[in-house]
């Protein structure tokens, strides 16, 4: 199953430090400190501190710097090519979060693409389903595609996001009518901004947690349109909180911070909310199924669109995806990465990192999950 023993002329191999490109002598999203790293996006399990030199997509510069502080960072516009030891490297939109990129590597006529995390939903392309806070996923033709597989099971099929946002708006408006705040939990980086861009700001005021606001700033500076938001400490008319939508990281659930909103209705936005078990474990009033990862049809479509004959699966339901791809006649294998453990731990890791944006730099070091 593992491709570690694959022929040495592979463009990407697995090393203890992470995914490695031998001819280019650099890593993609390494989990241990290396000299040269291409970083697909700024989530904590992909972008870590301690590397000598970073290469990332230009739109993500703001969030990456906010996350990692002082780093030697070189950026590329989407599609721009840089040559490194004969490897032509370019970055292409992944639709996951602001600045997220797939890495295209071309060397001696072979093309490999490493996806990082990506979002694309449904069996057929539909612009209405795009993530509005970043450049949509763009298929890149290649010989070998290294794909994520976070939601690599056929039970994960996202409903149209406009229906989903209708649900969120209805929930918020219903709460507002009853004079209750609506506490919507979602990861500070990526999910929070996607929620902001999707809800109807006419319903009431929008309050965000202190961990969310620095990322909003980075998004706005990058030209992403978000509705007006305020910190709870800036709200002078406390009565207006009763109509407010409050967007905060999941860690505030049942915390002192969230208690100030009184009898608020709470909800959690995540792809994992698809399942009753996960919803009940969260014990929130509502679970909104909104993910920044590809659903099952999206994964299939993205993989097909690359035209790749060989596919290597990184994280998620690897063995399922590998077997399924093999049944489709593709050469399939897996890389065992450290991009989080199965399911929720992975998202929790990201969350901890996102929250750490407002903490002192020392706390930004995120240990990989056991």
């Amino acid at each position: 199953m593992s491709s570690t023993s694959a022929p040495t002329d592979d463009l990407v191999v697995l090393r203890p430090e992470g995914l490695y490109c031998p001819p280019g002598d650099f890593y993609i999203d390494p989990w241990r400190p290396v000299a040269r790293a291409i970083v697909t996006h700024a989530h904590a399990d992909h972008a870590r501190v301690g590397h000598g030199h970073y290469l990332a997509a230009a739109p993500g510069e703001g969030v990456l710097r906010a996350r990692l502080g002082q780093i030697a960072l070189q950026t590329l516009a989407y599609g721009e090519v840089v040559d490194h030891f004969g490897v032509r490297v370019s970055l292409h939109p992944a639709g996951h979060v602001l600045g997220s990129a797939q890495v295209r590597l071309e060397h001696r006529g072979r093309v490999w693409v490493a996806s990082g995390d990506y979002y694309v939903a449904g069996d057929v392309p539909d612009a209405r389903e795009d993530n509005l806070t970043c450049t949509p996923f763009e298929p890149v033709r290649c010989d070998c595609f290294i794909t994520e597989s976070t939601f690599g099971l056929p039970i994960y099929r996202w409903r149209p996001q406009r229906e989903l946002f209708d649900d969120v708006n209805r929930w918020w408006a219903g709460n507002a009518d009853q004079g209750r705040a609506s506490l919507l939990l979602g990861y500070s980086f990526g999910k929070a901004q996607r929620l902001l861009a999707g809800v109807d700001p006419g319903i009431g005021p929008i309050v965000v947690h202190g961990a969310v606001e620095p990322l909003n700033r980075a998004y706005r500076e990058a030209g992403v349109a978000l509705p007006a938001t305020q910190l709870v400490t800036d709200v002078s008319d406390k009565a207006s909180l009763k109509r407010a939508l409050v967007i905060a990281p999941p860690s505030v659930q049942n915390s002192q911070w969230s208690r100030r909103f009184g009898d608020a209705s709470d909800a959690f936005a995540s792809g994992w909310m698809q399942l009753r078990g996960a919803r009940r474990r969260r014990s929130v009033d509502r679970g909104f199924v909104l993910s920044d990862h590809a659903d099952w049809p999206g994964l299939q479509r993205a993989i097909r669109a690359t035209g790749a004959q060989r596919v290597i699966v990184t994280h998620g339901y690897e063995s399922v995806m590998v077997r399924w791809l093999a049944e489709q006649g593709l050469e399939a294998g897996a890389f065992s990465t450290e991009y989080g453990d199965e399911q929720e731990t992975r998202e929790e890791t990201k969350e901890a990192a996102a929250v750490s944006l407002v903490d002192p730099p020392a706390a930004t070091r995120q240990e990989p999950p056991a």
Partner: protein, 577 residues
């Protein structure tokens, strides 16, 4: 159907009782009576028999979704619920349905039973294609016979009572027998439940809502302070049988279980005994298998219930008796508001006129200490401990405690369970809320006591190297599965250790390197040739995690062997804890 699916979702999503009641009221306020009739049936615990085998549903779902069985199985493992898995793997619906719940059930679901398999498959596929994920989930639950909802019958009664400004106890009484499979709910039946004009022709065989007991969880030293002196209480043995109400009215006997199932036909002996009672009598008590002048172990009764037909042999092998402990109605009078001691007198009079019905004996002692000492003989007597009932208390409803903490409650004062310290060797993810968390465990004991820690460790290392155990050598022998007794936080901790110590995965099951010792409690223990250990335990559950206990000090097969005798002779606190 759509509206009912939405209600189900709301009930499922909310944890607050008031939110559930509100959701129920919103539903019932707008539902057509025929739909509401079925909704009450399902929500109050009515279970339509399985219409289509789950294996058929599985195969059909794979076909409709265009996925291989292994991929469906992987999905099922992640979801932990068959109907939910099906609801999600199917492609989005192409049609919309606006049919109400009653029509769905009566015109579509029920006729499926007995249809030929091809027609069944065709119709179910068409039904699925009309529903969104919540609707499919519900439909599949109903077809597969596995419908369960996170709402109690009490809550449904409360919602209906509040909505129609009725007494909840009255609604409860009218709903008795509502979920009995023999009767189809319909608008007329529902109208009776919510009738505000008063006179509802009460079905002669209707029982009263059961009053349920609470576990008494206090040290003996506090009994006097909390309960007062023993003379204020009726103290009876707690039998391990089936709680039942025996109703005799209009010349007919009805026997009802606590689950409101009509069991009259299963217990002809009791019908015969109760026929001697005058009309207008209702007794509350326990059905037990009675042999050689003593109650027999519960599993005999369980075996008898499992029999489809009662042959002469079954009746001879497991004859049942009825131990009466309360009279709810005498000479047609509802006695439930009378104090316990008065009902006891009425009971004694009724039982005196019906030889064969046993009067639950009272144990009268001057102090709680004396009762505690007497309670130690529970196992020898084949009982679970004592029941304490306040002399002045009336007969309540359900599990609701009456005013004045101690007085209005029936207390179960049970003996400690049998227990052993066992080693966790396999784990499986749970279902529903516990899907994707390892919560179902298999436990083992040592085949003999390890000489020392090193010998035990050598066995563990051999297991880790996947070496099969040598015949006759020290080994861990699986003997029980348990999945309850830990807090969510403890389950999370154990789940983490399981993931770290996993040796192999067999489908949903993981074998782990043995590192964790648990104290397991159980209610009974019997020989069983079907179990590898030769022993079967009843209702095993985790009492606590024994972090303090090294692996080699876990119990042995010999410990279990010794407990086999305890059921009949020794005292309560067994186990090597």
């Amino acid at each position: 159907m759509k509206r009912f699916a939405q209600l189900f979702d709301e009930l499922d999503a909310s944890t607050a009782t008031s939110a559930k009641v509100d959701a129920l009221k919103r539903y019932f306020a707008q539902a057509a009576p025929a739909d509401a009739a079925w909704a009450v049936y399902f929500l109050a615990g009515g279970k339509p028999r399985q219409v289509v085998p789950t294996a058929t549903l599985r195969t059909l779902a794979c076909e409709q979704a265009g996925i291989a069985p292994w991929l469906f199985e992987e999905s099922y493992q992640a979801v932990g619920d068959l109907a939910e898995t099906i609801a999600h793997v199917l492609p989005p619906p192409r049609h919309a349905s606006h049919i109400g719940l009653a029509e769905w059930v009566e015109q579509r679901l029920l006729p499926l039973r007995g249809a030929d398999p091809l027609a069944q498959a065709e119709r179910i596929a068409a039904y699925w294609d009309e529903l969104d994920a919540p609707g499919r989930f519900l439909l599949t639950k109903l077809i597969g016979g596995g419908f369960r909802v996170g709402v109690s019958k009490l809550l449904v009664q409360r919602a209906l009572a509040e909505l129609h400004d009725l007494d909840a106890k009255l609604v409860a009484q009218r709903m008795m027998g509502y979920t009995d499979a023999k009767q189809m709910p319909d608008a007329a039946r529902y109208a009776q439940v919510i009738s505000t004009s008063g006179a509802v022709p009460a079905d002669a065989g209707q029982p009263y809502p059961f009053f349920l007991a609470h576990a008494l969880d206090a040290p003996l030293a506090e009994f006097e302070a909390r309960l007062g002196p023993p003379r204020d209480w009726l103290v009876e043995w707690k039998y391990d049988g089936i709680r039942a109400q025996v109703v005799k009215r209009a010349g007919q006997v009805s026997v009802w279980s606590r689950g409101e199932e009509l069991m009259t036909e299963r217990f002809p002996e009791i019908v015969q005994l109760a026929a001697q009672l005058p009309d207008g009598s209702v007794l509350d008590g326990e059905i037990v298998v009675w042999k050689d002048g003593a109650p027999a172990p519960f599993n005999l009764l369980q075996q008898r219930i499992g029999r489809k037909t009662l042959t002469k042999k079954v009746l001879a092998d497991a004859p049942v008796g009825f131990i009466a402990y309360d009279a709810l109605e005498a000479a047609g009078d509802d006695l439930r508001e009378r104090p316990q001691w008065q009902r006891r007198e009425a009971l004694a009079a009724l039982v005196a006129g019906a030889p064969g019905i046993q009067l639950s004996p009272l144990e009268v002692r001057d102090s709680w200490d004396e009762l505690a000492a007497l309670r130690e003989s529970s196992r020898e007597r084949g009982v679970e401990g004592f029941m304490l009932k306040h002399r002045e208390a009336h007969y309540g409803t359900g599990r609701k405690k009456q005013e004045g903490l101690a007085g209005g409650t029936w207390w179960k004062w049970k003996i400690a369970p049998l227990s052993v310290d066992a080693v966790l060797i396999y784990a499986q993810a749970g279902h529903g809320r516990r899907a994707s968390v390892y919560t179902d465990y298999t436990f083992a004991v040592w085949s003999r006591a390890p000489v020392d820690a090193a010998e035990a460790q050598a066995v563990v290392e051999a297991i880790a190297r996947r070496e099969p155990a040598q015949p006759g050598a020290l080994q861990l022998v699986a003997f029980a599965k348990a999945y309850s007794g830990l807090t969510d936080a403890e389950f999370r901790d154990v789940d983490r250790v399981i993931r770290q110590t996993t040796l192999e995965k067999f489908g949903p099951v993981r074998s782990v390197k043995p590192t964790m010792v648990f104290e397991l409690g159980f209610e009974g223990i019997n020989r069983s040739p079907r179990h590898k250990s030769g022993i079967a335990v009843r209702f095993p559950r985790m009492l606590r995690i024994r972090d303090d206990k090294p692996l080699h000090e876990a119990d042995t097969l010999q410990t279990l062997e010794a407990l086999l005798g305890v059921g009949a002779s020794a005292s309560a606190s067994a186990g090597a804890g």
